[in-house]
């Protein structure tokens, strides 16, 4: 199981190295969103300091939509999706793809957070790293599940936004609060931890059903 999961993860990294699909779609998107948000909410430093943490997490949440198309998009385009489903156990497939998406989202969070820190002049509270790690894990589980769900059918691709954005609400809220100063840390840390645990377990449990055809 672990070997299979790592093999899937390595394969995802190789696919990304070859095509740069996630990088090319996500980085310009996040950079544009943060810069435009600064223009929209600024230029008062006070307003930017209030809206900065939320802007970074909103960028991460919205970035799940282009990232979700990379979950199974390459395999479907190359007609290797059926072979992969036949060769790899569902749990290992979920774990491997989850690791890949988590890596992508964590980098997205670092990029969005870094941009807001630099451009918006935000402080970096230490608990924000915990929120970033656990919040992106929860979003990665959602992205993996819903990415596979919509990959197998050509219809209603726009549903991804309707599914992913509302379901990621707790990560958005808790991540934003943990990235803000003068906020009670414990309740939000508990919320994001419980949310991530429940989402990862639920996505893992339903993943085999999503792989069926």
């Amino acid at each position: 199981m672990t070997a299979q999961a790592l093999a899937v993860f390595r394969r995802e990294l190789a696919v990304e190295r070859a095509g740069r699909e996630a990088l090319v779609t996500t980085v310009p998107f996040v950079a544009a969103l943060v810069v435009l948000a600064g223009l929209a909410f600024g230029p008062s430093p006070r307003d930017l300091s209030v809206t900065g943490p939320g802007t970074a997490w909103l960028a991460v949440l919205v970035a799940t939509i282009p990232l979700s198309r990379t979950v199974a998009g390459t395999e479907v385009a190359e007609d290797s999706w059926d072979a992969l489903r036949g060769l790899v156990a569902p749990g290992a497939m979920f774990a491997g793809k989850l690791l890949a998406v988590w890596s992508g989202l964590a980098l997205t969070w670092l990029l969005a957070g870094g941009l807001t820190v630099v451009l918006f002049g935000l402080p970096v509270p230490p608990q924000s790293f915990y929120g970033g790690a656990v919040g992106t894990l929860a979003l990665a589980a959602l992205t993996t599940g819903f990415g596979v769900l919509t990959a197998s059918g050509p219809r209603r691709r726009g549903l991804l936004a309707a599914l992913l954005l509302p379901a990621g609400l707790p990560a958005l809220l808790a991540g934003t609060q943990l990235a803000s100063t003068k906020v009670s840390v414990l309740p939000w840390a508990v919320l994001v931890t419980l949310y991530a645990a429940v989402v990862v377990v639920a996505a893992w449990a339903v993943f085999p059903a999503l792989l069926e055809e």
């Binding site: 959602l142 599940g145 819903f146 769900l149 919509t150 197998s152 059918g153 219809r155 209603r156 549903l159 309707a162 599914l163 954005l165 509302p166 379901a167 609400l169 707790p170 809220l173 309740p187 919320l191 949310y195 429940v198 989402v199 639920a202 996505a203 449990a205 339903v206 059903a209 999503l210 069926e212 055809e213």
Partner: protein, 251 residues
């Protein structure tokens, strides 16, 4: 085709729902006094709270039935989940609309960025997505599987919605009945609210069972074998029929 007579349990359920609705109307509109602060607008709570309760109940049903479907792969569980999801979406929309109607005279605005309001609106979006997932493909079983997955994952937002007023403590008032330290309430108001809860639950059960019957009939019709008429064999001495070309699309 004649409709089958409703079972005795269904007739009893409908009668109970009708009685409860009439009682709730009388208690809510006549017996219960107007609120000392909010005035007549407070009576909207006799619809708002039961609608929210029924939404929670039906979304819990979606979770349970979705798990049951994924375990058994019996479409009856999927039909139950779908009927519950549709009812829940309707009740969530009603909750938001009622809350907005109440908020205008009491808060002075139709909408505020209150955590309870926002999370409830998000909940509505989650379950609209749940219903929309069924149309991803024409395969009935694939749609049921996908919907079950979304129904399970989507339930994660329910505790966030319910506890939002506890965590944030903003404009929306905390729970009156379920709070560990319940606020004092006039006994007539409490009675009207409890009867309205019963009326909504019974009426919801009637609607749910009716929708279940419709979904079962639709599934039965989809699975029924289609009778293919035997091709007519022309007699040897019949005149040859000229070949007609029918256009596949019309302007």
């Amino acid at each position: 085709m004649p409709r089958p007579a409703p079972a005795r349990a269904d007739r009893l359920l409908r009668a109970s729902a009708a009685v409860a609705v009439v009682a709730a109307l009388v208690l809510g509109l006549v017996v219960a006094p107007p609120d000392a602060v909010q005035g007549q607008a407070q009576r909207l709570m006799y619809v708002h709270v039961p609608a929210a309760w029924l939404a929670y109940l039906t979304f819990t049903g979606v979770l349970v039935f979705s798990v049951a479907y994924l375990v058994t792969r019996n479409l009856k569980w999927d039909r139950r989940a779908q009927a519950a999801g549709e009812l829940g979406v309707g009740m969530t929309a009603l909750t938001l609309a009622e809350g907005s109607l109440w908020g205008r005279p009491v808060w002075g605005t139709w909408w505020v960025w209150d955590p309870r309001l926002v999370t409830t609106a998000v909940l509505l979006l989650v379950y609209l997505g749940y219903l929309s997932v069924r149309g991803l493909s024409d395969d009935r079983a694939a749609g049921a599987r996908r919907a079950a997955a979304v129904g399970i994952i989507g339930f994660v937002d329910i505790p966030v919605v319910h506890f939002s007023v506890v965590w944030w403590r903003t404009l929306h008032q905390p729970a009156t009945l379920l709070s560990p330290d319940p606020a004092p309430i006039d006994p007539r108001m409490l009675l009207a609210l409890l009867v309205a809860l019963v009326a909504f639950t019974l009426t919801g059960a009637v609607v749910y069972r009716r929708r279940l019957t419709m979904l079962a009939a639709a599934d039965a019709a989809a699975l029924a074998p289609v009778a293919v008429p035997e091709p007519a064999v022309p007699a040897d001495d019949a005149p040859a029929v000229p070949l007609a070309v029918v256009p596949r699309s019309r302007p």
